[in-house]
């Protein structure tokens, strides 16, 4: 797997990462700015989301409409949002329009208008978005799981609360932008066809004068591990649970991915086979891995009719607990092929590559060559995954359920 990877950190702390993919006509870019919702003031939860929403409503010499026209005329698709620690902005386009896209993003990031006249509209959109969660039971239960498993402020819902959004104002937005939209710790990742030195110089011209204003790191407690049942008359009980794993930087990271793979890589994995296929208990059940810089977590979801919910929960927990008791060689072989195939297939997408190199830098302060990931995948074995499962059992655990009837957590 031949790769062309580039990296440069400018004197103000902005890191530019780039992967050249000479066979493509597209390009993707992504900014990770350390301005996520953990920095929202307690009475203004949602401030960072309001900021992301209003960012495109006029910037630099562009009015809201002119900016929209400029993006559309270049065929740039974009999405942006506030996360826990980072706010992210990403865009995809044809490679030939990459520099023009960067010009527009320099305006958006460095000189947004943040107009008072747009505040009501933006707040209304966010509030409706939060209200609409009531109609999305699966999303709702996952947000509640986060709220109960993690400590403040990393248990926040990134969109904030209705009250918090209502409390935001332009003055706080300007302050938030001034304090947190700064280059120190910001990552700009690009994948596509480009000429490196020209790209680096272009980014230097646009962002070289951006003033650093280092953000103090936030001290976060250990997890809360709370459980709760939320009563609601719905036709399908939503089950979500979480327990500790290791972060991306940990030597056990690949073993954690291997364990999740045995549970939930595809339709032949244990959860799908034993919960859905063997017993027909539910349509959807899966486990996934998520990581912050200092901690990793396994999250499990199942949705089942109220009559089958208790059995679904029991069997799911059972699957999680017995991983340490034995794994077939063949199961691990499948996980290895699956992880390897996914790794290579993602190489066909500039958006996926831009996302991957940004994530590597955020967690590891370096970009892992594909060959290195491949070697780690090859080294997975039944022994190494069992060893991991023994050290990271599904305990302590948060269980959050949403439905007409409370479920019992059988130990």
């Amino acid at each position: 797997m031949k790769q062309e990877l580039y990296q440069h950190t400018f004197s103000n702390g902005l890191t530019l990462l780039a992967e050249r993919m000479p066979h493509v006509r597209s390009a993707s870019l992504g900014f990770l700015i350390p301005a996520g919702c953990v920095y929202d003031p307690n009475h203004q939860l949602g401030l960072s989301s309001v900021l992301m929403e209003i960012l495109f409503r006029g910037a630099g010499n562009y009015s809201s409409r002119a900016l929209s026209n400029a993006l559309n005329s270049l065929g740039i698709d974009h999405s942006e949002g506030s996360g826990l620690f980072n706010s992210s902005l990403s865009a995809s386009m044809l490679s030939k329009n990459l520099e023009k896209a960067l010009d527009l993003y320099a305006n958006i990031i460095l000189a947004p208008h943040l107009p008072e006249s747009e505040m009501d509209a933006v707040k209304n959109l966010l509030i409706q978005d939060i209200e609409a969660l009531e109609d999305e039971p699966q999303q709702k239960v996952m947000i509640e799981l986060t709220r109960h498993y993690y400590p403040n402020p990393i248990n926040r819902y990134k969109r904030g609360t209705i009250e918090g959004v209502q409390n935001t104002d332009v003055a706080s937005l300007r302050k938030q932008h001034k304090n947190y939209f700064q280059p120190d710790g910001t990552i700009l990742a690009i994948a596509g066809d480009f000429e490196w030195s020209r790209l680096r110089d272009h980014v230097q011209r646009l962002f070289g004068d951006w003033k650093a204003n280092p953000v103090e790191s936030i001290q976060v407690d250990s997890n809360n591990y709370q459980s709760v049942h939320l009563s609601k008359e719905i036709e399908q009980t939503q089950i979500a649970l979480a327990f500790p794993s290791v972060p991306v930087s940990d030597p056990d990271f690949y073993k954690a991915r291997g364990a999740v793979g045995v549970w939930s890589l595809d339709m032949s994995s244990r959860l799908f086979t034993n919960i859905r296929e063997k017993y027909g208990l539910c349509y959807s059940v899966y486990a996934s891995y998520e990581s912050l810089r200092d901690r990793g977590t396994i999250v499990v979801y199942a949705g089942a009719t109220p009559e089958k919910a208790q059995e679904t929960l029991n069997r799911t927990l059972q699957e999680l607990r017995i991983l340490k008791d034995g794994i077939e060689d063949e199961e691990v072989d499948r996980v290895k092929v699956g992880l390897k195939s996914a790794l290579i297939m993602r190489q066909e997408s500039t958006a996926a590559r831009a996302g991957a190199i940004a994530s590597d830098w955020y967690f590891l302060k370096r970009v892992r060559p594909l060959q290195e990931i491949q070697t780690h995948i090859d080294q997975l074995s039944t022994k190494s995954i069992i060893d991991y499962a023994e050290r990271y059992p599904p305990f302590p655990l948060s269980l959050v359920t949403l439905g007409p009837k409370e479920l019992q957590l059988n130990h």
Binding site: H23, V24, R25, S26, S64, S68, N69, L71, N72, S73, L74, G75, I76, D77, M93, L94, D120, A121, V122, N124, L125, I127, Q128, D129, E131, A132, E134, D135, E136, P137, E233, E235, Q236, L265, D266, M267, S268, S269, T273, E277, Y279, G280, C282, A304, T305, K308, D333, R334, V337, G338, L339, K340, S341, A342, I344, M345, Q347, E348, S349, T350
Partner: protein, 412 residues
Amino acid sequence: MAFHHHQLNNGLTILGETNPSALSLAMGFWVRTGSRDETSEVSGVSHFLEHMIFKGTERRDSFTVNRDFSRIGADNNAWTSEENTFYHAVVLPEYLPALVDVLADIMRPSLREEDFNTEKSVILDEIVRYQVQPGWAAYDHARKTFYGNHPLGNSVLGTTESITALTRNQMMNYYNARYLASNIHLVVAGNFDFSSFVELIDQACGKWPTGKVERLNRTEVNGAGGIHIVEKPEEKVSQEYLMMISPGPAANSPLRYAASVLATAIGDYAGSRLYWALTDPGYADECGMGADECDGAGAYYLSLNCNPDNIKKCYQIVTELYKIVQDKGLSEEEIDQAKTKIASREVRASERTHRRMLQIAKDWAYLGEYRNLDDELAAIEAVNLKSIREVLDAYPLSNYTTTAFGPCSAII
């Protein structure tokens, strides 16, 4: 990139687009059957059958099927629509023979009674799962209302009643009538050799039965018209979900590119008329419009959801917007922007083998021809003020049927 084409003696069509620089290959069987081809007694059988395809054959039980996809790291799935069922997988090039071995095999399923009963409960659960999502429930209602007795209004999932009553025999009869080699085409896109692929397929699929397959009622639909309110208690559905469906060009109509530009200019998520009219002022959190082109008929779908307090205002804005576009058409600048967006998305998406496979399969199903990316880009580029006017005259936007799903008892 080169195109290859071959037909087996039993009528199975094999299409290939080879791209030696691709890192993967995508392969899929496209079956021209879906809920529009069902009678009401077997409503949902196409989709249920799609699940049963993964439940095993004479050579494999369901666990082996899943394991054999997994063993080769396949990214595989299937979907069923109103008129097509598609079984597809992406793998690394070296796994092509193993992929053919399993994907071709499962297309001749055993449909064992025991598997049928287990899977039935999964389907019933899937129906509930969709019912509790108001966005989807609104869509299902809106389609039924718009299409009335036309088969395009048939539900893909079926109902709890129809699925509960369905027997294995009914499914077997449906399978025998629809899954004939002449009604299926096979597409591969990516890094592979076509002639050795044809040999593999001849061995695997050459004995599949063939025969004549019909589709009834391929007429255009005018829609029921009017406003249809589906009222739900607020504790069940918190937001109001609105859908407007108007007749549009069919999948083989030369007007389809103009329809797609029109829908993008009106209803794209960014910078469209709807965006400026509803999202920018904060009235509706989500809104969009698209053209859905089917076999013999087509439609525009406009959907939005918002706080119930905003629905009257939103509906008024949207109906006025439709009227203005109908009367005045689009500006040249809007047309250019929409064309640029569509072309940019097309080029980017085509970098994935999966997308090329899907596009080739679809073109063959509806047009009976192969089109490469440049053909597509040229057709988009050719859209102008005149063709936009043509499509508006042929399929007026003002001809909509409205469905409102949520707590509101009135929207005007």
